[in-house]
Point group: C2
Chain length 121, copies 2
């Protein structure tokens, strides 16, 4: 039997909306998600869980209240739980996220950018 | 304050041993690891946890008792818990792994390829 790999590039082809993470795999009670982002997101935190950002294409800045980290292709960062952060991408950026199933993209904040949190692609 | 990204390429420069995963980040009670692999690994399973494989460079085959999946750069697969598998790479392949902290690379099997499971890089 031949099993099918999950191809990141193919997954990114399938949607265009910004700030709307799509689930591509489940590992135990965690989801692996992909998202396209551009512009400024909202300040928020995830009180219960760390969040992994891995840049697949483009450049992402993650702002913190006391600084920032810039991620380029092939770079990642783990935002600790409870830490306020605001992702910003000047140009469209493709990212991979790892976070507990059920995590809402805007964390503790309800905003127009709050996206459905259980969409598979 | 400027925070430092975790650069995958830099992490891979830092070691050369095959089948010896190195931790590059922690997310809650999970570890993100990088590994260089070449040749055949041992048949094993992880009875308690799914395991994520993402190929960063090269090609990885994951054999199952009833088939296989081939992963190329930018492709991933989640091996379900309890499923016997044997990773194989004809040429050196660089992979990223996500698995619960404390996961042993050879799972339920003790082998000469069993590596220390708590090495950060």
């Amino acid at each position: 039997m031949t099993y099918q790999p999950i191809n990141l590039r193919e997954k990114f082809y399938k949607f265009s909306a910004h700030w709307s993470p799509k689930i591509i795999a489940q590992m135990n009670d965690y989801h692996i998600k992909v998202a396209k982002v551009q512009g400024e997101f909202v300040w928020h935190s995830h009180p219960e869980a760390d969040e992994v950002f891995l840049v697949v294409q483009g450049r992402l800045e993650i702002h913190f209240r006391d600084g920032a980290v810039t991620l380029r292709e092939g770079e990642m960062y783990v935002v600790p739980k409870g830490v306020e952060h605001k992702p910003v991408a000047e140009e469209e950026c493709h990212i991979l996220l790892v976070e507990p199933a059920g995590t809402v993209n805007t964390g503790d904040v309800l905003d127009e950018k709050t996206a459905p949190n259980n969409v598979w692609i």
